[in-house]
């Protein structure tokens, strides 16, 4: 805390400091008084015991002063909270979809990505949603956090005050690989954002399942690296051969794989048909040695599916 990069930072940190200073004064006061009492009134030093069992004025003071203090804290805090809940009407809207275990950002033009890019000095409104379980969209450097609740559309907004790259956490525990559900927000100058956003238009149509991008001649599978990131596959399936929660993509194609089908073990050849089935119905043939962990929905188009399969075939 006490360094950050959004317009909320100073408000939140000041409210915290205000509470902290009052707390420290109280705490230090009480501890010193306590130490004084236990030294001064040690039974060796004090035999004449006070019969004081209360004092109405003191008790009232002790009630009224903290009440005023906490209500002052409330007022201070509520002003800050109201600002955080009042979304400027001109804010740029981006959807953040949480799923086990990655974030997917969708811009107004349909462009999808796993890294959030936003302009500096402009209010941005994030529509936080979830496809499966609870997640929470958290950018510590901006002091914002919003739960993603399936079935609800929650909003959170911020205005970044400096350019740079900041971590995005999932703050709500969401299953075995919760710790790896990390993402980044890139804050760029406004002009840079504008040109970047224009450049996404062609990908946007491709990523959202429209006509193949640009019309130029493309090699099948060339969009694979981007798709496995956007669709969150790499949160559980590595591309370098290391086993994560799910089996790696590397070196699968064309090899024999031991799988569990209907509770029985068998060996099958990982052909194109097998890859397709594993993506669409992951439970049918579960690779032996991996737990039966729910794979989140991908909503792949036929074209995207073909791209990903082509990409996995290349990873040898």
């Amino acid at each position: 805390m006490f360094s950050g990069s959004s317009t909320f930072v100073s408000e939140v940190d000041q409210a915290f400091l205000f509470i902290l200073i009052i707390s420290v004064i109280f705490f230090v006061g009480i501890v010193f008084a306590m130490i004084y009492f236990v030294v001064r009134y040690h039974h060796k030093k004090n035999q004449t015991v006070s019969q004081s069992s209360g004092n109405l004025t003191l008790e009232l003071l002790w009630t009224v002063i903290p009440t005023i203090l906490v209500l002052a804290m409330f007022y201070y805090g509520f002003i800050g909270y109201r600002n955080m809940k009042t979304i400027p009407p001109d804010a740029l809207e981006i959807q953040a979809l949480g799923r086990m275990w990655s974030w997917l950002y969708t811009y107004e033009n349909g462009y999808q990505t796993d890294t959030l890019t936003v302009p500096v000095g402009k209010p941005v409104k994030i529509r936080v949603e979830s496809a499966d379980v609870l997640h929470s969209f958290y950018i510590p450097a901006f002091r914002i956090k919003q739960d993603a609740v399936p079935g609800m559309k929650n909003y959170v907004w911020f205005e970044a005050t400096e350019t740079g790259t900041f971590d995005i956490f999932c703050a709500e525990y969401c299953g075995d690989r919760h710790s790896y559900m990390l993402s980044l927000v890139k804050v760029v100058p406004q002009e840079e954002y504008a040109s970047w956003y224009d450049g996404t238009a062609q990908f946007a149509s491709a990523a959202s399942g429209g006509a193949a991008g640009g019309g130029a001649e493309r090699k099948p599978g060339s969009r694979g690296p981007m798709l496995v990131k956007i669709k969150g596959c790499v949160a559980c399936h590595s591309i370098d051969g290391s086993p994560l929660v799910g089996p790696t993509f590397k070196g699968v194609f064309g090899h024999q794989v031991a799988v569990i089908t209907d509770g029985k073990e068998r060996e099958i050849l990982a052909d194109e048909e097998y890859l397709r089935r594993s993506i669409l119905e992951p439970q049918t043939d579960r690779v032996k040695g991996f737990e039966n962990i729910p794979m989140p929905p991908q909503n792949l188009t036929e074209e995207e599916l073909a791209e990903i399969i082509a990409y996995i075939k290349e990873l040898q």
Partner: protein, 601 residues
């Protein structure tokens, strides 16, 4: 009114005590006497030992987790062979196992450790003695309560051995994740149903006992503060637990019967749309859970405050300062604790107006705690303080609970809570309330009432080593959590946040915290040795070794089982804390001694 009905009540509750003392009683066999006992003292001890076992077990789980946090991905030394290949292949902990340990640590410490020790053990053993009752009002219900708790514990422990292990959706078990988790979650819910049932049975029993079975002359304002604390605690348990019991059964039905109380429609898991009707709400669970779990915090803390109040009055040799203010505060606290729960949910998408309401109630609930705490520490003023082992623990409680309370303020205000929610700051805050707070007070209670239970006192030197070792280690464990939390490090991270760039500067604290936790584990051996050795080797002491005023000290130590605790039914003449009254022959005036006996002749 209770006075007139007094004798009749006793007969109804405990026919055998109505006989004149000294009449021959048929001896109960071993099983009826020590295992399926209906005597509140045996049940209290059963609760006590079971709860201490679970505290140790729950702490062991976290000591294993702390290896993974301090040295992520490294094989655990010495004890790695104890675990199966599915949880720790080659001694390296898997996330699945870490998450089981985390969820079970929380569940065990709260529901199987601290509450049963504070309410089940201390409440059962001490409350009937302190109000001069021969036993609890419903002895068989009392036995049922213990055995429901025991079964709940067995179910929870055995869940580690079902396929895919114990519950791992956190101690809060938020759906939809909890609904789609492995079989351990079903066991968790079954265990909770047993534990909640146990608490409900206990709560009804305490309420009836305290109100109906108090000794003649023991008016409400003559109650020791500990009895007040237990009375309010029982109200909280009785009113707050039913919603969670209902919620646990609804989640069980979601998992087993295909209902969708907590599941919205259109959830897509494993690439397939779930075959459920939908229409449920994940937030409903959170409301039901926190409607219990916030009052639960006060269930954890009130008995601790009660214990500390007894010990401070006794060891300062003066009346508690502001007894009445403390009583009114604890009643107010009880009411208020039912309308603050949603401060756990500020970031779920709650409206501004309703969250303003919960922010105000949360700010206000801090006032009665401030009053109780300051009354306790002002009680030191003008006293003649003895530094016994229980007093050390009680004095340690005051500043430690103070830290726990004060660090809660930023969590009660939405703007600061938004940043701190679900970070290690929350973990630090909560643990300061419950570990250096409640658990220190519970240790104080064990040292304080041990002579009443056994007729011998625990070793003082070992007690002091235990105190200093524990309180120092606790601060090294929990203080760095505030630093990590302020930096934004989330909780429930399997590797403690290694992957996050900005968390790097504060991660070095993980090793410090872990080492402190392990040393604290070693320090507890001193306590365990002291606890068991003193049963035979402790110094023999009189019935009232602390020269205390409350009724339990007028019973013989190790009070007779099933004989009704007291030789003759006590009559109460005065308030609970008449210490050092000028003109008296001694510096304490027991509640049951008539005026002519205590005044200097």
């Amino acid at each position: 009114m209770a006075k007139n009905a007094h004798n009749k009540d006793l007969q109804v509750a405990h026919p055998e005590t109505s006989h004149a003392h000294g009449e021959h009683h048929p001896e109960l066999g071993f099983w009826r006497k020590y295992v399926f006992s209906t005597d509140h003292k045996i049940i209290g001890l059963q609760y006590g030992f079971t709860a201490l076992f679970f505290l140790l077990f729950g702490f062991t789980l976290v000591m294993i987790m702390r290896w993974q946090l301090a040295y992520p991905g490294e094989a655990i030394p010495l004890i790695g062979w104890l675990f199966s290949e599915e949880s720790m292949p080659g001694g390296v902990m898997l996330p699945e196992f870490y998450n089981q340990l985390g969820a079970m640590h929380g569940t065990i410490m709260v529901f199987l450790g601290v509450v049963p020790l504070a309410v089940g053990a201390f409440g059962n053993y001490v409350v009937p003695l302190q109000i001069g009752a021969p036993d609890m009002a419903f002895p068989k219900l009392n036995m049922a309560s213990y055995w429901a708790y025991f079964l709940g514990g067995v179910v929870m422990l055995s869940s580690f051995f079902v396929p895919a292990g114990a519950a791992k959706a956190g101690w809060t078990s938020y759906p939809p994740l909890a609904n789609i988790e492995t079989m351990g979650q079903t066991m968790w819910l079954l265990g909770m149903v047993f534990l909640i049932t146990s608490s409900l049975l206990g709560a009804i029993n305490f309420l009836t006992t305290i109100i109906q079975l108090r000794a003649e002359g023991l008016t409400f304002m003559r109650f020791p503060f500990f009895v007040w604390a237990q009375l309010i605690t029982s109200f909280l348990l009785l009113l707050a637990f039913p919603p969670l019991e209902a919620a646990a059964i609804l989640q069980l039905m979601d998992r087993l019967a295909g209902t969708s109380f907590f599941m919205p429609g259109g959830l897509v898991v494993s690439g397939q749309v779930m075959d459920i009707s939908g229409g449920g709400s994940p937030l409903l669970w959170q409301h039901l859970f926190w409607f219990l779990a916030h009052p639960e915090v006060y269930v954890l803390i009130l008995p601790a405050m009660g214990i500390v109040a007894e010990i401070i009055a006794n060891n300062t040799r003066k009346p508690l300062w502001g007894y009445k203010a403390m009583v009114y505060s604890v009643i107010f606290l009880g009411f208020m604790s039912f309308i603050v729960w949603a401060h756990h949910m500020f970031i779920t998408g709650m409206g501004t107006a309703i969250s303003a309401f919960f922010q105000i109630t949360t700010m206000i609930i801090s006032i009665p705690s401030v009053i109780i705490l300051s009354a306790l520490f002002l009680s030191l003023w003008g006293g003649s303080i003895r530094f016994t082992t229980p007093m050390l623990f009680a004095l340690g409680f005051l500043p430690m609970f103070g830290i726990g309370g004060l660090t809660g303020l930023p969590l009660g205000l939405a703007p600061t809570d938004i940043h701190l929610h679900d970070t290690y700051y929350v973990i630090g805050h909560f643990h300061y309330v419950v570990a250096p707070g409640t658990i220190l007070a519970l240790f104080a209670g064990i040292y304080y009432w041990y002579p009443k239970i056994t007729g011998r006192s625990m070793n003082d030197l070992l007690g002091k080593i235990h105190f200093w070792g524990t309180i120092i280690c606790m601060n090294f464990i929990f203080m760095p959590m505030f630093i990590q939390g302020l930096a934004g490090v989330s909780r429930r991270l399997y590797d403690g946040g290694q992957l996050y760039q900005f968390a790097q500067p504060v991660l070095k604290w993980n090793e410090v915290m872990s080492i402190a936790a392990w040393i604290m584990g070693l320090v507890q051996i001193v306590f365990i040795v002291n606890l068991f050795m003193s049963i035979r080797k402790g110094k023999k002491v009189s019935d009232n070794p602390w020269e205390a005023t409350t009724l339990e000290w007028s019973a013989t130590s190790s009070p007779p089982l099933a004989h009704g605790n007291f030789e003759t039914m006590p009559q109460v003449y005065r308030g609970p804390y008449e210490y050092s009254v000028p003109g008296n022959s001694r510096d304490f005036a027991p509640q049951n001694e008539p005026e002519e006996k205590v005044s200097a002749a």
